[in-house]
């Protein structure tokens, strides 16, 4: 069986410091995978290596059996890989609708000439684009504010808009960087609902997140990193009881610490 996505032994070193140490994992279509670990565990590095923001020192990344290792972000986007950013990374001065339109670069196939001359192919593509944008706006539930500028919208809206922008590329795999950070419990619950809806829609999702309630409730599978190494992988139930995971988060338990000192 082939996987949608596979990372083989990715290692990333920064000036001698090993940020990622031979990390391998895979993703199957329609899965939601959580990537967790304490501060400085290498999650962000892992995320950036997958999206092409950083080149791995060694290792190999495949999407649909095609090698995407070290591809720049705009090309990984072409391959069907989209990402969201931490906090509110949107096009602040554009309206909500324009934000999504701007993200639909990959969908509009008309060239500069057709655009300037307003040919019929331009017009028909504009109509199909309009429908796609409408669909995305409904999906992220922002149609009612489509003509408002992004700047000044409530934080929860902007997080959803960030996801909508990623959807503009029509991705097969969506990587989300701390999507629930800064959300209140109601908004977090709404986010989980949206993520499941996207999964039902056929999008495979990787989530890097600190909010364990979200991770545990949403993910099918979890990969845990610590000091750049994969220390555990499995279902939320398994991960939650894994002593190594607990130690990585909370430190050594009392008894162990005493034994170590003795």
């Amino acid at each position: 069986m082939t996987h949608l996505f596979q990372a083989f032994d990715i290692t990333k070193k920064f000036a001698g410091l090993v940020a990622l140490d031979q990390v391998s994992f895979h993703l199957d279509e329609g899965e939601i995978l959580g990537l967790i670990g304490p501060n400085g565990a290498g999650k962000s590095t892992c995320f950036n290596v997958i999206t092409g923001t950083l080149k791995p020192t060694s290792g190999r990344i495949e999407l649909r059996e095609q090698d995407i290792t070290g591809m720049p972000p705009y090309l990984t986007a072409h391959m069907g890989l989209a990402r969201t950013f931490q906090h509110t990374t949107v096009f602040q001065h554009l309206t909500v609708r324009e934000n999504i339109e701007a993200a639909c670069w990959l969908r509009s196939k008309v060239g500069l000439g057709c655009t300037l001359l307003r040919t019929s192919s331009y017009r028909s593509s504009e109509i199909s684009l309009k429908t796609s944008v409408d669909d995305i706006l409904s999906m992220i539930d922002l149609r009612h504010v489509q003509d408002s500028r992004a700047k000044g919208l409530p934080y929860g809206y902007l997080r959803r808009l960030g996801i909508g922008i990623a959807l503009g590329t029509n991705p097969a795999l969506l990587l989300m960087d701390e999507p629930a950070a800064g959300l209140n419990p109601t908004e977090s619950a709404e986010f989980s609902k949206l993520a499941r809806r996207l999964r039902d829609f056929g999008i495979t999702i990787v989530i890097v997140e600190h909010d364990m309630k979200v991770i545990m409730g949403l993910c099918d599978r979890i990969v845990v990193l610590n000091y750049g190494k994969k220390i555990a992988e499995g279902s939320p139930g398994v991960i939650r009881r894994d002593p190594q995971v607990i130690e990585s988060y909370l430190g050594k338990s009392h008894d162990e610490a005493e034994t170590a000192r003795a």
Binding site: A102, R118, V145
Partner: protein, 324 residues
């Protein structure tokens, strides 16, 4: 509708103006305004649409002027052909500058563009056999088809405004297209734009060419109109002049650039301010604009007028959906 109406009025006024006001001096001021406006619009392609802050656009403006001047004066090439050559060569120069400059970020980018312009100025200054160096190059007055001898100003006038109108028309069309949105996306957030598949480097690279070409065209019209050009045209003062017009008008909008050019050429001309005094006033104005009106003078005004109902503040009602 209002937009079309206003555009129609502007076109009619622009075509008719030289027949109503036959004053030669007025026509001259208008041509200068038009040339500056083309230059400002060219710069705005980078500043306003892509957020690429070139500090050396004088290289293209002056470069275009010199190409046109040399071709006409030394080689006797026709005005039309010289314009085309100047545009193409300036565009190529733009691409050439873009190669090192686009590898830089922030201030390094600014410094690199500034220095590339200095290199061009140095070359022009130091090959007097071709450019007459600091002596300046005189440029013959071209003849325009259908324009009688002695009325060349009219020819320049219509040429300038035709170029300006066409470039504005295309740019505006482009700006409102989905493709244009992706351009603006680069200005708003480069990293995010790249993440949705926009080839940021390639777009910036070609935009440099287009902007350089258009600035070169402005310079190419300027050279024979003024009659004598010197390496001063390539100095940071001219780069700054373009930036003054774009920033004071408010960047990212075509009308802002034109408004800036209008302020710079016509309004100061009305007050008969000397060239130096004008630069003093404008640089002070620019500093004030940066501190107090970061979006320029015109943009906030237009936003204010455009608001659907001016009595209500433009605050979004976030609860609207929940109530429905």
């Amino acid at each position: 509708m209002i937009r079309i109406f206003l555009t129609a009025v502007a076109v009619v006024v622009a075509i008719g103006a030289p027949f109503v006001v036959t004053d030669l001096y007025f026509q001259q001021v208008m041509v200068i305004f038009g040339i500056y406006a083309i230059f400002a619009v060219a710069l705005d392609i980078l500043f306003g649409f892509l957020g690429v802050h070139s500090f050396g656009h004088a290289a293209f403006f002056g470069g275009g002027a010199y190409v046109c001047g040399i071709l006409m004066e030394t080689y006797g090439v026709s005005f039309g052909l010289s314009l085309v050559a100047a545009t193409v060569l300036s565009a190529l120069l733009g691409l050439l500058v873009a190669i090192p400059a686009l590898r830089m970020r922030g201030i390094y980018f600014a410094i690199t563009t500034l220095f590339c312009a200095e290199v061009v100025r140095l070359i022009v200054t130091n090959v007097p056999s071709v450019t007459r160096g600091t002596m300046g190059l005189t440029t013959p007055l071209p003849s325009f088809p259908g324009v009688p001898y002695g009325y060349e100003n009219l020819g320049f006038y219509y040429l300038t405004f035709a170029v300006l109108a066409l470039s504005c028309f295309l740019l505006e069309r482009f700006r409102r297209s989905p493709l244009g949105r992706s351009f603006i996306a680069i200005r708003e957030n480069e990293q995010l734009a790249a993440s949705v598949g926009v080839p940021v480097f390639r777009i910036k690279f070609y935009a440099f060419g287009v902007s350089g070409g258009l600035a070169g065209l402005a310079g190419a019209i300027y050279a024979p109109f003024i009659g004598i050009i010197s390496p001063d045209l390539l100095s940071p003062t001219y780069s700054a002049m373009g930036m003054l017009m774009v920033v004071v008008g408010g960047f990212g909008t075509i009308y802002g650039a034109i408004f800036g050019a209008f302020m710079f050429s016509v309004v100061t001309e009305i007050f008969r301010a000397a060239a130096e005094l004008r630069m003093i006033i404008f640089s002070a104005l620019l500093i004030a604009a940066i501190i107090f009106m970061p979006r320029g003078v015109l943009t906030p005004l237009i936003d204010y007028l455009r608001r659907p109902s001016r009595r209500e503040p433009a605050v979004l009602d976030v609860n609207r959906k929940d109530e429905a």
